[in-house]
Symmetry: none
Subunit: 405 residues, 2 copies
């Protein structure tokens, strides 16, 4: 969608009480395990979706572009109507979102590994023997206690998992144009943090000082006496969904990455949940106070990544059992789709468009009896970029006024 068109849509948005419920079944799109076989959606028993399909619009959404296999970040941003190419979120920022770290517009974030160097500073293990998360936490505590920074600066050091962590530097005028310090090979020293743009030189100097302090603090640790940084990125706050669409948006998601992505586009994120039952409870509790809801369902992706076809079919059946409770909330517009496909036969994200079901009083069903990739391919919504979804949802919720006379 062109910038002009995005601007026009923004100008057409009108506040209303009508509610949109967007359920994102992560990695839902699938493939047959062998030619002629069913996809995961086709193999699943989905009585509730089967009732919805004949009275809904179906279609296919392409997350980023033809042939492009997206990560969760760009795939979700596209569903929320943000061009994932324009809003290319840096790795450091994504890592921050992934651990639910509340980033601000004054932050530069980078991922780090604990690594091990020998007596002369040469790398002998870039992952410090994949030390345990517990051991990671101990080293992080040591760094937090020891590191000192100048006035006007703050530093946050966070455990991610095993040997991985997150470094956030907060202050005025910081920039993320800094080269990785991980040389990607052994027997050489870590690289200094080098600015790739003159505007980042001050930030690079701060980072080099932090690395030197870290090395001094970690000296003597048999595993993890150094840190290697990569994916430096300044956090650029995005226009919020409220600003772009005039909606009050609320997210219900169990996993930190999705909670972080929702926060990135200005959604209110419901308290942590750990089960489908808790998700439904939070959704119900927030339903009166918001008019756009993003519900994230993770298992379809996890079982797809496992390559476990029967388990992904089971996840889809669990999703299907949620449908009556979701519809009982009486959303004016109900949509079910995926951020990307995760076919079991590939056991990873894929480039295939994702199935979309949209239910409102203003649908043009084409007679499909089930919600499957195949039926979506002949659906009335056609094959479209994922970024088309938001304006279509807004239109079905009667939140877009007429363009021109």
């Amino acid at each position: 969608m062109s910038e002009e068109l995005i601007g026009i849509i923004k100008g057409l948005c009108e506040k209303s009480e009508r509610r949109i419920l967007l359920t994102v079944a992560d990695g839902l799109g699938g493939l047959p395990m062998e030619p002629g076989g069913p996809t995961e959606l086709e193999a699943a028993k989905t009585p509730n979706l089967d009732r919805l399909a004949p009275v809904s619009d179906l279609g296919l959404l392409e997350p980023v572009g033809p042939g492009i296999t997206p990560g969760s970040g760009p795939a979700h941003l596209a569903l929320f109507g943000y061009d994932p190419v324009k809003y290319n979120i840096g790795r450091g920022v994504l890592e921050g979102l992934g651990i639910d770290f509340p980033l601000t517009g004054r932050d530069v974030a980078a991922r780090f590994n604990f690594a091990t160097v020998d007596g002369s500073g040469m790398l002998v293990d870039r992952r410090a023997g994949r030390l345990s998360t517990e051991e990671n936490r101990r080293l992080v505590r040591k760094l937090r206690d020891g590191i000192r920074v100048g006035k006007g600066l703050e530093v946050f050091i966070e455990t991610v998992k095993e040997h991985r962590g997150l470094l956030v530097v907060r202050g005025e005028g910081l920039q993320g144009d800094i080269h990785d310090t991980d040389p990607q090979e052994l027997g050489v020293p870590a690289l200094p943090a080098q600015a790739t743009n003159p505007r980042a030189e001050k930030t690079a100097a701060i980072v080099n000082d932090l690395i030197a302090q870290a090395a001094a603090i970690l000296k003597g640790e048999p595993k993890g006496n150094m840190i290697l940084l990569r994916g430096f990125a300044r956090h650029e706050p995005l226009p919020t969904m409220g600003e772009r669409y005039g909606v009050r948006a609320c997210a219900v998601a169990q996993y930190p990455m999705y909670r972080g992505l929702a926060r990135l586009v200005g959604m209110t994120v419901a308290p942590h949940t750990a089960s489908t039952a808790e998700d439904l409870k939070e959704l119900g509790a927030h339903f009166p106070s918001f008019d756009f809801f993003y519900l994230h369902f993770k298992k379809t992706d996890s079982r797809g990544e496992d390559g476990d076809f029967p388990a992904k079919v089971g996840a889809i059946e669990e999703l299907d059992r949620m449908i009556p409770e979701l519809l009982a909330l009486k959303p004016d517009v109900f949509a079910l789709t995926a951020d990307h496909s995760t076919p079991c036969v590939l056991a990873m994200h894929s480039w295939h468009p994702v199935p979309l079901l949209l239910h409102s009083p203003y649908c043009r069903p084409t007679g499909a009896k089930r919600f499957t990739e195949r039926n979506c391919a002949g659906g009335s919504l056609g094959l479209r970029p994922s970024t088309d979804l938001m304006p279509i949802l807004l239109a079905h919720a009667r939140k877009l006024i007429k363009f021109g006379a």
Copy 2:
């Protein structure tokens, strides 16, 4: 479509005698009145379209963008191949088109209301009691008789309907960047015409002089002693269809807005008609002299706006009865589509893509037995922006040569 592609298509156009007949059934696209019900097209008895559908290409056109409900202006421009976002026609110009006023490239147009002010110039009625069209005509005659303008300038004052009118100022170097003078509230005076861009200051001064003259002329009228102006727009002539596609284009349309839109893109507009029989007569009379024809059919939209499902079905059946006479003209390419959808269930324009039928010797029918939204969703032309239509029509008329070797 990118500007580059538009330029390429322009370079590929080749004149030929082959004729394209594009019938636009205004607001044709519909919806079921209740889940599981038929759309207006599905409910209509359309024996002639039923004969055509199995030997034609079907598809769906999206007028402006996903979720966008277009007005008639942008929706028609898109069908004629003009990007409706780039060629966003100002309200004043559209009002001029709507009363069939022949605008030129030296014109700034604005809509006006007759309003009533009290003795101290404060607004007491922004619509002058919605005075009658007859009364409007009397006041317009008074203004025409009294208003004087400087050398090189012309002013046109036109009745639209009830309290509404059109002001056109014609001269060299005029600009439309002028703020509305309607303050949108009572108890305050009308705003002066203020330039929103320095280039429009001269025009704003001319307009302020006209307003002062109008106030003096209308002084003493109990209702309508002031005018409020809004929607100032300079008329920017568009490249004509002849320039863009090498066609000689002719329009047959009963309503002034559509005649004006056709004139805007350089079509020759057939004399006024008031019935389908007259439309067919004019079309026949002009058929030998042109190679592109735009025929506008209004009733499908009017009955849709009324929310009268049986009446819209009846309008579609009337349209169907025209088909044999249209085909008897032996156009090389016959297309039937809509500018936008006007589903009875909404009783207004909507964002839904419009059905398209294209008949030529070079079609790839997919076996659909009827021309319905549902069958169009699975058609061989797919779902496309409305701006794609013109080059496809030109191609079927063998008016586009090969691109590249």
